[in-house]
Amino acid sequence: MAQLTCENLTLGYEGREIISDLSFSVNSGDYLCIVGENGSGKSTLMKTILGLHSPMKGKITTGDGLKQTEIGYLPQQTLVQKDFPASVREIVISGFQGKCGLRPFYTKEEKRQALENMKKMRIDDLQKRCYRELSGGQQQRVLLARALCATKSMLLLDEPVAGLDPRVTAEMYSMISQLHKEGITVIMISHDIEAALRYATHILHIGREVFFGSKETFKRGMFLGSYSAVTGGERNG
């Protein structure tokens, strides 16, 4: 059974439709890239997948033992966080908050896992550092470690490399790729078609033209129309 299934979704705000009749599914171990122009409804789709926004029509189901609240989410940074006094450790462990329910404190096991996730993201030496003093790439890794705390099996990344320089971007992609190899399902929202084609196994394109399928089908020219230039560049490179 698929981990995440979206059936005939129609999304929008206040009666205005942005996406209509969208269906796709994500299986365990997939790496799905959601691409599309600005305003095509990528972030609305993401909020719907996370359960923050309800669809106008259609439904989203999770399976394979995954609950909707167990999707690890890497949000884009907000203004508030830019000058928030918080240590790396405090932020990472707050990923477990959803599992705490009314329990006021974190367990030993959760603390241990938080440390493990920090090691995985190579930020364990920054534990005590203040989040706002870190570089953009380090901050992203902190938030990714937090997302790992919130999930066992699925990550949803919202523009994970926005605002990062090329070297850090490559590092970030390889880290995500590593997590994918370790068995975590990845859904990534991105502007970056080139990276999508390099790392993803599946592509969902929304906007005027809708496409969902494997990367190979996407490349094979079913969808060459607006992206021929990019796919061409990929072949040359």
Binding site: L50, G51, L52, K67, T69, E70, I71, G72, Y73, P75, T78, V80, Q81, D83, F84, P85, A86, S87, E90, I91, S94, G95, Q97, G98, K99, C100, P104, F105, Y106, K128, R129, C130, R132, E133, R146, A150
Partner: protein, 288 residues
């Protein structure tokens, strides 16, 4: 100097009002500074101001109607307004700062209007005196009854316990509400709890500093702590310590010098903020 201390010790032993003032002042300072950290970070620094004006308005209504215990009206009205302002979220038509400003000045105006239009039963007959003491917190902290003290002690202990129990949740919701919601934290519920706690603290604090200066108690310790410390925990602990020390110093100065309690405490808070700001600059850790 020794003279001053012996005078203070004398007050402490023989005047219960001074003891009460210290107990109430310290507890209020502690509670308000704890909440201040999350309020400042949420860009809600002015909520203290807004809500205290609501409490002022409600107090005026209570006085006009002739309620013997105006807490019964003031507390629920303030709690409701706090919930409306904080828990309604970001999807309201009027944005956060505008709605706080609106409620704040609205309640202030209506309250003053009512106090002038209808003479207060059992009041001193001196309207501007009454208004001034509600706004700036008169010397009334020195005329607290044992009942006032007990109510404050119980409510502030409650606030403290709630804060400790919900500490990690408050952090999660303040740092990133969307993430918290997406991963199954009941952000709405915790926002509601925070709103109620804030309303309670503000109504309590009106006795000490009056409604115009409550914001200072809430934001100054938090801002001072943020100049120097860098993790949420250390900022919270430091804000609490700073706030308690400032409250004590302020009360002592006002007893010795006969200055108004509320504004003295706030003046001490400002001085401490300046010191922390300098320390921050020297450490070079925090810009701005």
């Amino acid at each position: 100097m020794a003279e001053v201390f012996s005078k203070l010790a004398d007050y402490f032993q023989n005047v219960p009002a001074v003891r009460y003032a210290f107990i109430v002042g310290v507890l209020i300072a502690l509670c308000s500074s704890l909440l201040g950290v999350t309020l400042v970070l949420r860009r809600f620094s002015f909520i203290g101001d807004g809500l205290s004006h609501v409490a002022f308005g409600a107090m005026a209504v209570a006085a006009v109607v002739g309620l013997t215990d105006n807490m019964l009206l003031v507390m629920p009205v303030t709690v409701i307004c706090a919930v409306l302002l904080l828990a309604s979220g970001k999807n309201t038509k009027i944005k956060g700062d505008a709605s706080v400003a609106m409620i704040s000045v609205g309640a202030l105006a209506i309250g003053y209007l009512l106090m002038n239009k209808f003479p207060i039963r059992g009041g001193s007959g001196n309207i501007s005196g009454d208004v001034c003491s509600t706004l700036f917190g008169s010397t009334s902290i020195l005329s607290l009854t044992p009942l006032d003290v007990w109510v404050t002690v119980i409510l502030s202990l409650l606030v403290l316990v709630m804060f400790i129990l919900f500490y990690h949740k408050i952090f999660a919701v303040t740092f990133d509400e969307t993430f918290a919601r997406a991963t199954g934290t009941k952000a709405g519920l915790y926002n509601l709890i925070i709103a109620v706690i804030i309303a309670v603290v503000i109504v309590l604090a009106m006795n000490v500093v009056g409604s115009l200066l409550i914001s200072a108690l809430i934001i100054f310790p938090a801002l001072s702590a943020m100049r120097v410390f860098k993790s949420f925990k250390s900022v919270t602990v430091c804000a609490a310590c700073v706030s308690v020390c400032c409250a004590c110093t302020g009360i002592i100065i006002s007893i010795i010098d006969g200055t108004p309690v509320g504004s003295t405490i706030v003046a001490v808070d400002i001085a401490v903020f300046a010191v922390f700001w300098l320390i921050g600059l020297i450490k070079g850790g925090v810009r701005k």
